[in-house]
C-alpha cells in the first residue's frame, strides 16, 4: 500500500514537471527560416540566437541555402498553413503579396514601445510599413555599392585603389600583366543584375538610377546616359576570368582574400568573409564606395524579418520578444559587426565598428546619398525580367548596345 502510494505520488510529480517543462518549452520556441549559410553570415545570425536564448527562449534554426530557396520554402509554409515563427526577406517589395493576402501580423505594439519611427531612416520606414503599419523588423542596412580590394595585390602590381568604374577599367590591364584576375566575379544572373545597377548608379548618377528604376521611365532608358552605362558594363567583361559563370559570391570573395584576384564589386556582406578570415579593414583589405567615398550614392539593401499570423499566444509572445531584441541597440551593434552591414538605427554609437562601417554610416547621414536598391523600387517580376535581359547581354559579348537597350525597355514595359 505504501509502495503504491509512493509510486503514484512520484508519478504525479513527474507528470506535473513534464507538463511544466513542455509548457515553458512551447512558450518561447521560435522557428526562424533564413538563408544565412556562409561563414560570416552564420556567425552573425548566432548573435540573434544567443540573445534570444539568454532572454529565455529556444531558437530553432532553419537555415535554407540560397535566398530564393529560403523564401520559397517560407512562403509555401505560410500559404500551406504551417508557418514558421519568423522568416527572412530582403528589405523592399519582396513580401508585398504576403502582406497583401493577410498572412503577416503587424508589429505596431513593439514599434511604438521601441520608438522605431524616431530612430529609423525614412527609406527604411517606407520599406517596412504598409498602410502606415510596421509589418517587418529591419535588422541592418547593407551597402551594395562597395568595391573590395586586396591591398597587397594592388601594391605588387603598382596600382592605386580605384574608386570609379573608369579607373577600374584603366588598372585592369596592369593587373592582368601582374598575373592576377582583375575583378573576381560571381557569374550568376542576380550578381550580373547587381553589377549593372551598381554601374548605373556610379556612372549614370543617382538621378538616372532613380528615374529608370523608381519611375520606370522608358525615355530615360532610351537616352544617351543609359547607353553609356550599358557600354561601360559591357567593357567590364574584360576584367573577369573564364571560370566566373556559376561561381558563388563567397568563392569570388575568397579569390580576393587569397590574392588570386585584386578586387570585387559586392555588397558589404562580403566584409563578413574578410572578418571570418581574420583580416582587418584598412590593412590587408580595403573598401571604397563606388563613385567616391565622399560622393558616391550609397545603395541600400538589407534584411528584414516578418512574422506570420498565428493564434497561439505562446508563438505571439515569442514573436514580440524576437522583434524587440532584434532592434535593441546592443544586438544591432554585435550583429552588424559580424555581418558587415551597418545598424539600421541612426542613434547607435558606431565608434567601435571598423572603418568601412564608419564610411557607410557617414554616407547614410546625407539623405541625398540614401539610394534604395532595386528591391525597394521594383517587384520581383520586374527585376526578374530585367535580370534576364542583363544576364543575356553580359554573356553575349557579340550583342550590341542598341539591342540590349531595346530588350531592357520592352522587359520594363511588359512586366509590372
Amino acid at each position: 500500500m505504501r509502495a503504491l502510494r509512493s509510486l503514484l505520488m512520484h508519478g504525479a510529480a513527474g507528470v506535473v514537471i513534464a507538463a511544466g517543462l513542455a509548457q515553458s518549452a512551447a512558450a518561447q520556441e521560435a522557428e526562424v527560416i533564413h538563408w544565412w549559410t556562409s561563414g560570416g553570415e552564420s556567425a552573425a545570425v548566432k548573435v540573434f540566437a544567443e540573445q534570444f536564448e539568454e532572454a529565455g527562449g529556444t531558437w530553432v534554426d532553419n537555415a535554407v541555402a540560397g535566398g530564393v530557396n529560403a523564401r520559397t520554402a517560407g512562403i509555401n509554409r505560410i500559404v500551406g498553413g504551417d508557418p514558421p515563427t519568423a522568416m527572412q526577406f530582403n528589405t523592399g517589395l519582396q513580401f508585398d503579396e504576403v502582406v497583401g493576402n493577410g498572412f503577416l501580423r503587424d508589429l505596431e505594439d513593439v514599434a511604438a514601445a521601441g520608438n522605431w519611427r524616431d530612430v529609423l531612416p525614412e527609406a527604411i520606414i517606407k520599406a517596412t510599413t504598409r498602410e502606415n503599419k510596421f509589418y517587418a523588423v529591419p535588422v541592418n542596412i547593407h551597402g551594395q555599392s562597395w568595391l573590395w580590394y586586396n591591398n597587397e595585390v594592388l601594391e605588387q602590381a603598382g596600382v592605386e585603389p580605384p574608386s570609379t568604374y573608369e579607373e577600374m577599367l584603366e588598372v585592369g590591364p596592369k593587373l592582368k600583366d601582374a598575373g592576377v584576375v582583375p575583378m573576381a566575379f560571381s557569374g550568376e544572373p542576380n550578381w550580373e543584375r547587381f553589377l549593372f545597377n551598381s554601374v548605373m548608379l556610379a556612372e549614370g548618377g543617382s538621378d538616372l538610377y532613380l528615374d529608370v528604376l523608381g519611375n520606370k521611365n522608358i525615355e530615360a532608358v532610351q537616352g544617351e546616359d543609359f547607353r553609356k552605362v550599358a557600354e561601360t558594363f559591357g567593357e567590364l567583361r574584360d576584367l573577369v576570368d573564364e571560370g566566373s559563370p556559376g561561381r558563388k559570391w563567397n568563392d569570388a570573395t575568397n579569390m580576393v582574400i587569397t590574392g588570386q584576384a585584386a578586387m570585387q564589386v559586392m555588397g558589404d556582406w562580403a566584409k563578413g568573409e574578410f572578418i571570418a578570415a581574420g583580416m582587418t579593414a584598412g590593412e590587408e583589405y580595403g573598401c571604397t564606395i563606388l563613385g567616391g567615398d565622399d560622393k558616391g550614392g550609397y545603395m541600400m539593401g538589407g534584411d528584414v524579418f516578418v512574422f506570420p499570423q498565428t493564434d497561439d499566444p505562446a508563438e505571439q509572445e515569442a514573436q514580440e520578444k524576437l522583434a524587440e531584441l532584434m532592434m535593441a541597440p546592443e544586438t544591432q551593434i554585435e550583429f552588424n559587426k559580424k555581418k558587415g552591414s551597418v545598424p539600421v538605427r541612426l542613434d547607435v554609437d558606431v565608434s567601435s565598428m571598423d572603418i568601412c562601417a564608419q564610411k557607410g554610416m557617414a554616407a547614410l547621414r546625407d539623405p541625398e546619398r540614401q539610394i534604395p536598391s532595386d528591391n525597394f523600387l521594383t517587384s520581383p517580376d520586374m527585376y526578374g525580367s530585367l535580370q534576364d535581359v542583363i544576364t543575356e547581354y553580359w554573356n553575349t559579348p557579340s550583342m550590341d548596345v542598341e539591342t540590349f537597350v531595346e530588350n531592357y525597355a520592352s522587359a520594363m514595359e511588359a512586366a509590372s
Binding site: V68, R71, T72, I75, V79, E97, V98, N101, G187, E188, P189, D241, E242, G243, P245, G246, S379, P380, D381, G384, S385, D388, V389, T391, E392, Y393, W394, N395, T396, N407, S410, A414
Partner: protein, 302 residues
C-alpha cells in the same frame, strides 16, 4: 442430381465486375481528381492575372502574348527540342550498342552490367554537380589535360553559350544509357538461338541480322525506352539546375525551369501556368497522331 443453373447473363457480368470496379476506385480518383483536375486548374489559371496566389479573373490570352514575346521562353523551347532529340538518340544508340556488346557472352558480364547501370542509380542533381565540376574550365577536364602537357587544349563548352546545351546532353546520356541497355539486353536475351543459327547458315553478315531481324523483334522494348526517355526530356529541370542553373546567361534554359522560377521566385503564377499549358499542348500534339495510329479505326478493321 442437382444441376447448377447458370445465373442470368446480366447478373453474372455485374457480380464479377463489381469487386474489380471497387478496386479501381482509388486509382480512378487519383487520375480524375489529381491528374485531370489539376491539369484543368492549371489551364484555367493561365487565363488569369495571378501573381503569387491564384486570382480567378479572366484576362484572355494576355499571358500567352507575354510568353511568346519572352526571349527566355523561346530559348528554352529551342533548348528542349535540341536536348530531347540528341538525348533520346544518344541513349537509344549507346544503350543498344552496350546491350549488344554485353550480349556477346563477354567475361565479367555481371560486373560490366553493374558498372554501366550504376550512373542511373544517381540522382540528376548529383550527376549535374559532378559533370559541372568535371567540365569547369578552371577545375576539371581542361585543366587536367593542360597540366598534362597539351597547353592549347580547350574544352570550355560549359561556359560557352552555343555549346552548353550539348554538355547537358552528355551528362544526360551518361546517366540514362545504362537503363536503356538493361531494357534492351532483356529483349536481346529473348531472341531465339535458332534465329542466329539460321542466319549463319544463310551467310547473312551479323550487322545485317541485327538491323533487319533483331531490331524489329525488339520493337516493344524500343517503344518502352522511347516513352521513358521522352518523359525524362519533358521533365528535365534538376539536371539543368545542378549543372548550369540555366547559364551562362539564359543559354541552357528549359521550359520546366521557366515554370518553376516563375511559380515561386518571380511570383507570377499566370505566366508559369501559361508555359505549363503550352508544354501540355505540345505533348498532346505529339502523342495524338501516335495514339491514332496505334488504336485508331485501322486497327479495329483488322
Amino acid at each position: 442430381m442437382a444441376i447448377a443453373l447458370p445465373l442470368p447473363a446480366r447478373r453474372r457480368r455485374l457480380s464479377r465486375r463489381l469487386p474489380v470496379m471497387l478496386a479501381l476506385v482509388p486509382a480512378a480518383f487519383a487520375v480524375i481528381v489529381v491528374y485531370l483536375g489539376c491539369m484543368l486548374w492549371t489551364v484555367r489559371l493561365s487565363f488569369t492575372s495571378s501573381r503569387m496566389l491564384p486570382i480567378l479573373d479572366f484576362v484572355g490570352l494576355e499571358q500567352y502574348a507575354r510568353l511568346f514575346g519572352n526571349a527566355r521562353f523561346l530559348i528554352s523551347v529551342q533548348n528542349v527540342v535540341i536536348f530531347g532529340a540528341l538525348f533520346m538518340l544518344g541513349c537509344l544508340v549507346l544503350g543498344f550498342l552496350l546491350a549488344v556488346f554485353i550480349d556477346q557472352r563477354v567475361r565479367a558480364e555481371g560486373a560490366l552490367r553493374t558498372i554501366y547501370l550504376y550512373p542511373h542509380a544517381l540522382s540528376f542533381i548529383v550527376t549535374g554537380l559532378v559533370w559541372q565540376w568535371f567540365l569547369n574550365p578552371t577545375l576539371g577536364l581542361q585543366k587536367l589535360v593542360q597540366d598534362a602537357g597539351w597547353a592549347s587544349f580547350t574544352f570550355d563548352w560549359l561556359v560557352n553559350r552555343e555549346m552548353v546545351i550539348y554538355t547537358l546532353v552528355i551528362a544526360g546520356v551518361w546517366q540514362s544509357a545504362g537503363l536503356i541497355m538493361a531494357i534492351l539486353l532483356a529483349g536481346l536475351r529473348g531472341v531465339d538461338e535458332d534465329l542466329w543459327k539460321a542466319s549463319r547458315v544463310d551467310g547473312i553478315p551479323t550487322w545485317r541480322v541485327y538491323v533487319s531481324v533483331v531490331l524489329p523483334i525488339l520493337k516493344p522494348m524500343l517503344i518502352t525506352s522511347t516513352v521513358l526517355l521522352a518523359i525524362a526530356v519533358v521533365k528535365v529541370y534538376d539536371l539543368v539546375v545542378a549543372m548550369t542553373n540555366g547559364g551562362p546567361g539564359t543559354a541552357s534554359e528549359v521550359p520546366a525551369k521557366f515554370v518553376m522560377d516563375h511559380l515561386f521566385e518571380r511570383a507570377n503564377v499566370g505566366l508559369a501556368t501559361a508555359c505549363a499549358t503550352i508544354m501540355l499542348v505540345t505533348v498532346i500534339a505529339v502523342l495524338a497522331p501516335w495514339f491514332y495510329a496505334q488504336y485508331g479505326p485501322a486497327k479495329r478493321r483488322a
